[in-house]
Every structure is written in C-alpha cells, then in structure tokens.
C-alpha cells in the first residue's frame, strides 16, 4: 500500500472504514460531519502512505490516530465556534450492526477484535475506563475531564496513565 496502489487502498478502506466511521461518529454524533471527516482522514492517509512506519505501529493504530485527530479537531472547531448542537441524540440504530456493504470476513474479524478489546477493557476499573473514554471520545481538556468527573486533576491524570498502561499490558497483539 505504501506505493499508493489503488487496489490495495481499496482493500484498506474495506478493512478499516467501518470501524473508523463508528469511532468518528461516537466522537461527533453527526452523520454528515462523520462522513466528511472519514473522507478527510482517508485523503490524509492516502497522502501519508509513504510515511507509514510498520515497525512503529500497526495499520489499525495508524488509521485510528489519524482519524481520531481529525474528528477531535472538527469537534473542537465546532465548540470554538459555539455551534455545538445537542451532541447526544437518541439513536435507535447504534447497535444495528455492520453496513450491508461490509465484507463478511472483515466484519467477522472486526467482531473478534472488538470482543478481545472489550474483554481487555472489562479488566480496567470503572474510574479508569471512564477517564479514558472521555479522553478518547469527548475532545475535552484535562481540566474539563476533571470537572466532568468531579475528581482532582492529579487523580484524573493518574487514572488515564494507569488505565492506558494496563490496557497495553492486557492487549498484547490485539488490533494489529
């Protein structure tokens, strides 16, 4: 894929776009904006394929970090411009499953990975999981997370550190 091959990138899209879209939507809670951010993310990945270093991160990690950065950037931009709409809407189809266009083998692989990750997350304490959840999806600052959780800033930082280190130790080779 590093050569920018169209077919390889299409496979890459089929493999990762469903999960990335779900993640972006969990951050933005807006279908149109999520589509735009997914598009921007793939454009950026396409341009950056030559700089991807397989010795430093898996493709999944690389794709998640680029897409999450884009989504958080969009979220903060929205907040800055005080055009934040009601972010959490009742979505009846949040658990509707994979899109019809997703390949069955990809969906199965993702499902396996998701189960492993959720098992790993279950081993974290509630406080650690909650702090990381806000850090990952909410686009809040350290101080805002502290206020939201009603916990001292130092405590929040420690929860994020301990939770992430624990997750690293538990996950091992998952999500590669």
């Amino acid at each position: 894929m590093s050569a920018g091959d169209d077919a390889a990138f299409a496979v890459f899209y089929d493999r990762f776009a469903p999960g990335l879209f779900s993640m972006i939507y969990a951050i933005l809670h807006d279908p149109k904006e999520s589509e735009d951010v997914l598009q921007d993310s793939f454009v950026q990945m396409w341009k950056r394929t030559a700089t991807y270093d397989a010795s430093r991160s898996s493709l999944f990690t690389w794709a998640v970090m680029i897409s999450r950065h884009k989504a958080i950037d969009r979220l903060r931009s929205r907040q800055r411009q005080t055009r934040l709409v009601d972010a959490v809407t009742a979505e009846t189809d949040d658990n509707a499953g994979s899109a019809p266009s997703e390949r069955a083998d990809n969906a199965l692989a993702r499902s396996d990975e998701r189960e492993q990750v959720r098992a790993a997350l279950a081993q974290l304490g509630d406080a650690q999981r909650e702090a990381i959840d806000l850090a990952f999806f909410a686009g809040l600052t350290q101080t805002q997370i502290s206020e939201k959780l009603g916990a001292p800033l130092g405590t929040v930082k420690a929860r994020i550190r301990r939770g992430l280190l624990a997750l690293r130790d538990v996950l091992g080779g998952v999500s590669s």
Partner: protein
C-alpha cells in the same frame, strides 16, 4: 521509566498536553528512543479504544465517493493537449508580477484587463498583502487554476522562516468550515519564493488566500499567525 514521564506520555497520545508542556514533551520524544517506544505502545493501546464505539452503519455510497476522490487527487502528468496550461499560468504569473513591480497602485485594473483575455479566463489571480509589523512590504501573488486544481505562489520580501517553522498556504472556500491546506513552503534569505501548489482538498470557489507561519511540516488547520492575506 518514571511515573511523571509515563503520565505525560499517556496524556500525549490523547492530545491532552497543551502549549509549552506539549512542545517540551515532543522535543524530548525526538531525542529519547525509549520514550518513543513507550508512546508507540500507548498509541496501540489507545487506538484499541476505538473498538469501544457503538457500531454505526457505514453509508455504502461513501466508498465510491472517497476512493473516487483519492483516485482523482493523484498527481498526474499533463495531457498532451493541455501542455500549454502550466506555461500559461507561469506566463500569467510573470506578467502579473511585472505589473506589481512596475506600478503597485494601478495593478488591479491591469489584472482585470488581463483576466478578460482568453489566456486568463479560467485563472484567478490574487494579491496578498502583509499583516506583519516587521515586514509591511511583504507581498505575494497567487495564480490559481480552479479547473486544474493547481496554482503558483510567488512571495517577495517575506522574512525567511526559521528551521523549526514553515509557512503554510491556505485557500478559503465557503464549502468548508476551515481554510483548505495549500501546502507548506520555505522562504529564502532574500525573502523570495516561487512554488507550484495543489490543495489537499478540492476547492470549488477560492474566495481568498492566506499564508500563516506554522510549526515545521505544517498543520491540518491554521494555528499560527497570518502573515499574508488577500483575495
């Protein structure tokens, strides 16, 4: 590795370090292989959190839209019949710049006349003026071919950028909330620069252009001061 550093690394992967703290950490990261390895590991762990998002159906039509855009965004050789276009742009730029040098006061009228000519009918020309107190005479000209989605930027009298900074060009298009990235560039010690550019995202109607001073390598969205601005 000590706890404070682990804590910083954990916050860093979520983008929770700010300002000086973030800059200091990135400097240390650059020099410390062990810290880089830790950050890579934590990136991996943090990315796994994406699986915690509730599943959301991916619109099927998005595949064609995205892959289609990637396909069309590739840098391609000029087709044989269109070879005159880059030369026309270059010629237009040279012509425009000569007008700027010759007569700053009346150049807009002259450019307007040039734009009426066939050669420039599909080409937009913009003059960017300085926002810098220390370089009030800095200026730039952008020649933009919307149909080809490429242009040429010529800068004069702009202070040379330091090694850890880049100038970055932005195109303003009302379709997007934020200006579109036009690429980064360096300015030589003589304050001049002449470079072709191609925006990161298709621009349908360029309503203005800006140049900001950013950290090296550029940023997805302008953060630094605007140094040149115009339309």
């Amino acid at each position: 590795m000590n706890e404070p550093l682990e804590e910083q690394a954990s916050l860093y992967v979520f983008g929770l370090l700010e300002g000086d703290e973030s800059a200091a950490f990135e400097k240390r990261l650059h020099d410390d292989a062990e810290l880089r390895a830790l950050v890579d590991d934590l990136d991996h762990a943090a990315a796994a959190f994406a699986h915690n998002a509730p599943s959301r159906p991916l619109p099927p039509e998005l595949r064609e839209r995205i892959l289609g855009q990637l396909s069309s965004s590739k840098t391609v050789a000029f087709p044989r019949r269109g070879r005159w276009i880059p030369w026309a742009i270059a010629a237009a730029l040279a012509l425009t710049c000569s007008y700027l040098v010759a007569e700053r006061g009346g150049w807009r009228k002259r450019i307007a006349r040039l734009e009426e000519r066939d050669l420039l009918s599909q080409i937009q020309i913009a003059s960017l003026s300085s926002k810098l107190d220390n370089a009030p005479n800095a200026n730039a000209v952008v020649v933009w071919d919307e149909r080809k989605q490429r242009g040429i930027l010529k800068v004069t009298k702009l202070p040379a950028n330091s090694a850890d900074r880049d100038y970055q060009l932005w195109l303003v298009d009302s379709r997007y909330k934020d200006p579109v990235d036009g690429g980064v560039f360096h300015v030589a010690n003589d304050g001049t620069m002449n470079v072709p550019f191609q925006p990161a995202t298709p621009v349908r109607e360029a309503q203005g252009f800006a140049i900001s001073l950013e950290r090296k390598g550029g940023v997805p969205k302008a953060e630094g001061p605007i140094v040149l601005l115009g339309k």
